[in-house]
Amino acid sequence: MYSEKVMDHFQNPRNVGEIENASGVGTVGNAKCGDIMRIYLDIDENQIIKDCKFKTFGCGAAVATSSMATELVKGKTIQEALQVTNKAVMEALDGLPPVKVHCSLLAEEAIHAALWDYAEKHGIKIEGLTKPKSDIHEGEEEEEEEEY
């Protein structure tokens, strides 16, 4: 059901843990599946993400997307990090089953939430970043084309 890359990141997740005194922390959850993801960012004065860690309570896809998302944003500028969409994460993982698309959205939103937290703490505004929902629960599943 999962690609080899997903399984790899699930079994050997990168960047697990917490960052003490992180520049920004974002926690998001999906009310429907009950899963929770928390991302820690360490951002330097040049707005470059020096480090990134995560903790996830969730399915295999949630763990793998967390792991991949942290890999993808590490070393990036904030603006670059904003481009790490769930699509990008999914592509990097060679895809996810349709019912698991929302798990990757969780990762995108967790990064946004951490960036938002960073912006708030530092009293700055990040262009293109809107306040993320802390609860990701709609519109993300592939629509079944028919009613039964």
Binding site: Q11, C59, G60
Partner: protein, 387 residues
């Protein structure tokens, strides 16, 4: 890695070799249509009759009260939908529970759209229905009580005989979904006042795609699949002769080995439950500790999520299942675990292991070691753990 330890026998079982051997001749030799007059067709008919007898015997039914279906879901659908149609003159009220299988619950939802009124009984924290609540729910419009014999997730065995008595006293039909109970616990439809009973062969080392609905003589239920005159005109379709034969053998086998097999399973089950509860912290047993299917073990491990656990167990060659959303195609957590009062995130971290006849103590010891390690790893990953 190949599955070495299969602990998901509530989902489905290996078809036993004895069963397969019994089926084989009906594919390539005695393949005649059982409705045919010629000799090869008559052999099919005799084989079907024999299987019907073998099955009827297990539940104390008459041979002609067993109607073959394509499985437990069809039997459940049939019982509910056809009763609703046949007894609409009497009323539109059906009583069931919140912890039924989806084959019952989704059928009830369907019937609600057709005008049925359904009472979904609560269960207590062990999954047991309250007989007084049941009594109170019955009204003059009640046409059917449908309560499962044993729950597929948490293994709780309901007080079927008492329910049957209540149904009888009130002159209400009683259907039980015995898909998990058939072949695992003694059943006597007369003693227990059961009017209809669903079962599915693949849960007892029989083949997939065959089940039956027991319908007590006199129950005026319509057919569900219309067409040919098979199954006393109540269920059309060329008979699945190999499936039926396999079912008969599996039922006979399950009945014959029941006492010994379930004794061994109960011992293994209780041994494993005790060790898990002792050795894995923040762990809870779901379901009734005593009124429980001999092969069912269901735990909630706090702070972790079921799918991750399942995948990691699978990588160690262990097959289990979870009340977790992610495995079922739906994302909602198990309605059964929620009904016994578990909060969402705990319901998500549950693991169901169900024994089969080949499982040994060594298998369980290995499984326990893996669970301990995996649960530890996943808790490390979890943002909930240190909170």
């Amino acid at each position: 890695m190949k599955t070495r330890i299969y602990l998901d026998n509530a989902a489905t079982t290996k078809t036993s070799q004895e069963v397969v051997d019994a089926m084989l001749p009906y594919f390539t030799e005695d393949y005649g249509n059982a409705s045919s007059i010629y000799e090869i067709g008559q052999r099919s008919r005799e084989a079907i009759t024999k299987a019907r007898e073998q099955i009827a015997q297990v539940i104390g039914a008459k041979t002609e009260e067993i109607y073959f279906t394509a499985g437990g879901s069809e039997a459940d659908n049939w019982a509910l939908k056809a009763t609703f149609e046949a007894y609409e003159g009497k009323g539109n009220h059906i009583i069931t529970t919140k912890i039924e299988h989806h084959a019952i619950l989704h059928t009830c939802e369907y019937l609600e759209k057709k005008g049925a009124r359904i009472t979904y009984l609560d269960v207590d924290e062990n999954g047991l229905v309250d007989l007084e609540e049941l009594q109170k729910a019955i009204c003059p419009e009640t046409i059917l009580i449908s309560i499962m014999f044993a729950n597929n997730e948490i293994g709780t065995i309901e007080p079927i005989k008492e329910i049957g008595m209540i149904a009888k006293e009130h002159g209400v039909l009683f259907h039980t979904d015995a898909v998990q109970a058939f072949g695992q616990v003694p059943i006597d439809v007369d003693d227990m006042n059961i009017d209809m009973l669903s079962s599915s062969a693949h849960k007892i080392n029989g083949p997939k795609g065959i089940g039956f609905l027991y319908i007590r003589k006199g129950v005026k239920i319509r057919s569900f699949v219309h067409g040919g005159a098979q199954e006393r005109k109540r269920r059309a379709g060329t008979e699945n002769v190999p499936g039926i034969v396999g079912y008969g053998v599996a039922a006979k086998r399950a009945a014959e080995t029941m006492e010994e097999r379930t004794k061994k399973e109960r011992e293994l089950r209780d041994y494993f439950i005790q060790r898990v509860l002792e050795e894995v912290p923040y762990t809870k047993l779901n379901g009734d500790p005593v009124k429980r299917l001999p092969n069912n073990m269901n735990f909630s491990f706090r702070f972790i999520e079921g799918e991750s656990l399942l995948i990691m167990l699978d990588m160690k060659g262990i097959a289990g299942s979870s009340g977790s959303a992610c495995t079922s195609g739906s994302l909602d957590p198990s309605h059964v675990l929620l009904s016994i009062g578990l909060p969402h995130e705990i319901a998500h971290g549950s693991l169901r292991l169900t024994l089969g006849e080949d499982i040994t103590k060594e298998d369980l010891d290995y499984t326990l070691e893996q669970i301990k390690e995996i649960v530890g790893r996943l808790r490390e990953l979890s943002p909930l753990y240190e909170d």
